[in-house]
Point group: C2
Chain length 220, copies 2
DNA sequence: ACCTGAACACCGTTCAAGT
DNA sequence: ACCTGAACACCGTTCAAGT
């Protein structure tokens, strides 16, 4: 599997081979997390169970507990990886430009790992590695002239927006129950709804991000 | 248990007692749903299991399956009740006023039953009884002068916003992991974050709703 | 005809027995 | 000292045996 022996990146080059490695490469925390991420992306976070993970790694479920405190700890380590994927916030540009590119990076990370939103929503977990991004958002909001109270409010809105977007588009993408419901709605009873349904769907995120930034930054 | 014999509200008063009721009152679908709602409100949706529900109703888990197809069907019936709690959308007022009061009603219902957002988010379910509210939102957006494409986009944003709000405030309310994380952040490393954390928290929903409506309705 | 106990295939986690 | 099989307390759901 990919990343079975991480961090063995050359400082050992030229040294004699390590004595008598165990028959199977030792389970590394990074391997567990990588495998969990792969399962989560392919089948959703519900498929990431300790037993399933152990099976995938050819071990017993209890072996995992030597590298991971419990399932919550595993989820947190998965969130660390996703937080790193968001990347560093930009240092130049107008406050609005900075906010915009942070939000787009956040959104891209959420889109790549939609299960993240479920983990944050259901389990209330978060990675400390996202803090630089959060700090940069507050910095941009302050630079835009917002008071502390206004910035708190604006930050909440921006996060809620990207959260909600991923949450809903995740199920809208496939032929979800909710989508079938709207399509099956009686046009006579819900005329406005019917007009909308016939319109083809696009990705609303970029447009709506500009609308939100309009509401937050202009005119106060 | 509470609600074992619902709707026995007096139209039988003065009548002779019913002949030979079965030893235990028959299980009604409404009783099951009511009990499930009570558990969900008190302990979250994860506590609503078929086995727990049966225990609460003094029956076997399999008896529930005579009134409910499966757990998904139960969740849908619970969503029906919440959708009814949202109430009828207003028929008068400016488009903005109508949108505003619909959103506030929706938000109030979500606040009363935060588990709804998890069910919609994780299971992708929805109740057809919410369709009148959705239709009214689209009607207001059309009356405000938005094109079909603009209204679709705006509708998505409004729903995403209220979704995200409930999702995040649900965990922010209690002393969640995410909240402890922000509070534990190093002020030297994250100066902007530190300023915010010391500010006391309010409910941002009403303010942010106006910001979102500003962005959506003004200036196009 | 109706109800339901036992069973099946899962889950996270503990704990003591095994090497 | 280290690893892990069996066990515990859950879960949704099926199915056949019971009345």
């Amino acid at each position: 599997m990919i990343g079975t022996i991480p961090r063995a990146t050359g400082h050992n080059a030229g040294m004699p081979p390590r004595p008598a490695p165990p028959r199977r490469a030792a389970l590394a925390a990074a391997t567990i997390v990588d495998t969990a991420l792969r399962i989560a992306r392919a089948e959703g976070i519900a498929a990431v169970s300790m037993r399933r993970l152990a099976e995938e790694l050819d071990t017993s479920p209890m072996s995992l507990y030597r590298h991971v405190d419990d399932r919550e700890d595993l989820l947190l380590q998965m969130l660390d990886v996703v937080a790193d994927n968001v990347g560093s916030p930009p240092r130049s540009g107008t406050p609005r430009e900075r906010l915009r590119s942070i939000m787009i990076a956040l959104h891209a990370a959420f889109r790549r790992d939609p299960w993240v939103v479920q983990v944050l929503a259901v389990d209330g977990l978060a990675s400390p590695r996202i803090l630089p991004v959060v700090d940069a958002m507050f910095a941009a909001l302050a630079d835009a002239g917002l008071s502390v109270a206004q910035a708190s409010s604006a930050y909440a809105l921006l996060l809620q927006f990207s959260f909600g977007e991923v949450l809903m588009s995740h199920h809208d993408a496939e032929d979800s129950y909710a989508r079938r419901l709207v399509r099956a709605a009686d046009p006579a009873q819900f005329p406005h709804l019917a007009r909308i349904v016939t319109a083809d769907r696009r990705d609303y995120f970029d447009d709506n991000l500009d609308r939100v930034l309009d509401g937050l930054l202009s005119g106060r």
